[in-house]
């Protein structure tokens, strides 16, 4: 079995379990506020780390390349409240243009 399929199956099972857990196990009860606060703060930390590794990572190195210009374009598009798809187009078009010119 390839690592891709192993990932697909494990992530699928885990997601099923996470989504089913609330209604199945806990019924109408609430989570303790402290645990809830932790769960609230996981996505921002994780997403920020993903941005860094995806924009600057290259194998086991940090590199500055046109992806960073694309990310800057995305930030500008987000700042003017562009829809997300436009944000993605801004990022890819800027990166493609920079690769063409630099």
């Amino acid at each position: 079995m390839t690592s891709t399929w192993a990932t697909v199956i494990l992530v699928g099972l885990a997601t099923f379990a996470i989504k089913a857990a609330g209604p199945l196990l806990l019924g109408g009860r609430e989570l303790p506020p402290r645990l809830r606060g932790m769960l609230d703060h996981l996505p921002p930390a994780l997403l920020a780390a993903l941005i860094v590794t995806q924009a600057l990572g290259d194998e086991r190195r940090l590199t500055l390349d046109p992806r960073l210009l694309g990310l800057a374009a995305a930030a500008v598009a987000l700042a003017v409240r562009a829809p997300v798809l436009l944000v993605l187009v801004a990022a890819t078009a800027t990166t493609a243009l920079a690769r063409l010119l630099l």
Partner: protein, 228 residues
Amino acid sequence: MSDAIHPAPDRRRYRDGMRAALPLGLADLAFGTWFGVLAHTAGMGNVAAVVMSATTFAGSAQFAAASVLGAGGSVVAAVIAAVMLNLRYGPIGLSAAPAVPRPRWRAALTAQLVVDESWAIAQREPGRIDHHLLIGAGLALYASWVGGTAVGMLAVGLIADPERLGLDAAAPALFLALLAPQLGSRSRLLAAACGAAVALALQPVAPAGVPIIAASLACLAGLVRGRR
């Protein structure tokens, strides 16, 4: 029988949910297409990407798993990153729990249709979920997400060099777009800054995927200690 006396019949409320999901469904179709493109760039097979959309149905986690694999990370790292992003569906599913139908196996299946968008649509008033709306909206979003992934896989087959089109910049841009609305509170901003700093420090020394997991664990540890 009129709506003034009885609530709208179930079938109509399913349809209401679908109709409410239509604009978001279009966005999901496009996101699904992006996922197809990124999964292809990351070296996932066509079938695997579509199967993942059909069985996981959680965009950010799928993007994260594909990114970690694409960067050469291990299965364990990819799965942990995806699971940590999906943990928020624990509390979200919990808030939907009183609304999902019994028996329990039906509740477990209905909960699979909970994603950020369907949950928002089904929330008629804060804290109260209409499960007919949830199912209608969830099914519409599911169809566009899986269909979009298939479209993306087909479309990317026609592209010879994704990097020339700047497609490798799509993943960080998408994660930024997902992060931006979460930065409202100072503590979440701090968590994001901490995540970025740890990832930056570990990227040159740790195997792919590890910086992401370490970043979120380090920030959680800081958060717990800070609250004491």
